[in-house]
């Protein structure tokens, strides 16, 4: 291991922090490649399609009528900040997939946004209580700048997988790179394995 001359670090590594991450504390940095869109909930929709028995589109009212689900915990951004004690409210992706019914061959999903952003995930990373579509954060509505009115939340992976302004999930039998993944970011993005870039 190569040491940096004179660097000792200003604190012990917090065991809750994945390698190379720091605690952003009260800040919630914003990172996105696009200008912030303003998406009205009147004509907002969320669609699950691709390799499913029954493609489904929910309106804002319809998705809110589904059983509510909450995530409380940490989020980790590939740009090296993490945040603890976050509370997100929305619906579990499991609930959405119960209605759409994935076909046996479905193994991956492409999440897409109202802005055209995409990100790819293994199906097993968005099932089993690991992923949500959320519209509330820390007791208030999710702001535009953080992906409101609704974003995907996959908190066990780096946060670019939690697509802002999410508009749907397409189930696929193969993996395809999404927006950042085509630009060199990792296909999986596990922060505990430091899967930041392709080849990590």
């Amino acid at each position: 291991m190569a040491f940096t001359r004179g660097f000792t670090g200003r604190r012990q590594q917090d065991p809750r922090l994945p390698p190379g991450q720091y605690d952003a504390g009260a800040d919630w940095p914003v990172l996105s490649a696009e200008s912030t869109p303003s998406i009205k909930t009147d004509n907002w929709t969320f669609t699950v399609d691709g390799l499913v028995e029954s493609p489904v589109t929910w309106t804002w009212e319809q998705i809110h009528a589904l059983p509510a689900a909450r995530y409380e915990g940490a989020i980790h951004c590939v740009t090296s900040w993490s945040k603890f004690g976050m509370r997100f409210d929305g619906v579990s992706v499991d609930t959405l997939l119960e209605t759409a019914r994935p076909m046996p061959g479905a193994a991956y999903v492409m999440a897409r946004s109202h802005t055209g952003y995409t990100t790819n995930l293994p199906l097993e990373d968005v099932t089993g209580g690991k992923a949500w579509v959320v519209w509330g954060v820390n007791g208030g509505p999710l702001p535009d700048i953080h992906g409101g009115p609704a974003r995907l939340l996959v908190p066990h992976l780096y946060f670019w997988k939690s697509a802002k302004w999410v508009s749907g999930l397409q189930l696929m039998d193969h993996d395809e790179p999404g927006f950042w993944e085509r630009n060199g970011y990792h296909d999986h993005g596990d922060p505990w394995l430091e899967q930041r870039y392709q080849g990590d």
């Binding site: 660097f7 670090g9 190379g20 940095p29």
Partner: protein
């Protein structure tokens, strides 16, 4: 796509402003960057503790060196170490180049920078000037006061306007104030892609001005500089 971590040698440290320094690094394994991209700098303590942050490249591509300009953030673990402890001859682990906020050196660009957001756009401006395409990028830089302007030997210029939000230099006619439509309109050309870089609030307000100037959202790219140490 970024290469592996590599040990870069610090060749020079230059003061840009009271809170910004530029580090010239020699790369053992040079990888051509696109103007606008960034590198990660990683610090490692003897006990294995590590901290890493991303910094934009200020230099145009070419050769085996890169310039990274680093703003000293008040509570910034990495920026503080770089500012206070690093000197020429030191080795820093870096990885890059990275990022979608990148220019192909051909498309006409409208660059809009707030404060330290000028760094990646400076790489574009320097590349255009060096390669004999002045005007291919039009830059508008917003800073608080004259003392906050990075690269002041190269800015402003015929292809780069500077506006001041709090205090203007002697002989400057535009009063101090926030960026307006009138500041951006002279820099608008046909077929530009707009690159916005600065704080999140700055980027949102610049994007809103560009929408008023009928720049389509699909031609706006944003890099937000947040507190990231």
């Amino acid at each position: 796509m970024p290469g592996p971590w590599q040990p870069a040698t610090v060749l020079a440290v230059r003061t840009e402003t009271a809170s910004a320094k530029t580090f010239t690094l020699r790369l053992p394994d040079p990888r051509p960057h696109l103007p606008g991209q960034h590198y990660i700098v990683r610090l490692t303590a003897p006990d294995g503790y590590r901290a890493q942050r991303s910094y934009s490249v200020a230099s145009p591509p070419g050769g085996d060196t890169i310039d990274l300009t680093v703003e000293h953030l008040p509570d910034g673990e990495v920026s503080r170490f770089l500012h206070e402890a690093v000197m020429p001859g030191d080795t820093l682990e870096v990885r890059g180049p990275i990022g979608y906020f990148a220019w192909d050196s051909k498309t006409p660009v409208l660059g809009v920078a707030g404060g330290s957001g000028v760094v990646p756009l400076m790489a574009m401006l320097r590349a255009a000037r060096r390669d004999g395409h002045p005007g291919l990028i039009q830059l508008v830089v917003s800073v608080r006061t004259p003392a906050d302007l990075y690269y002041s030997r190269e800015l402003p210029g015929p292809d780069a306007a500077v506006v001041y939000t709090r205090q203007i230099p002697a002989g400057f006619s535009r009063p101090a104030g926030r960026l307006t439509l009138a500041d951006l309109a002279p820099a608008i050309r046909g077929h530009q892609v707009a690159y916005l870089c600065g704080s999140s609030a700055f980027c949102d307000s610049a994007a809103s001005l560009l929408r008023d100037l009928e720049v389509p959202a699909a031609r706006i790219r944003v890099e937000r500089f947040g507190p990231s140490g």
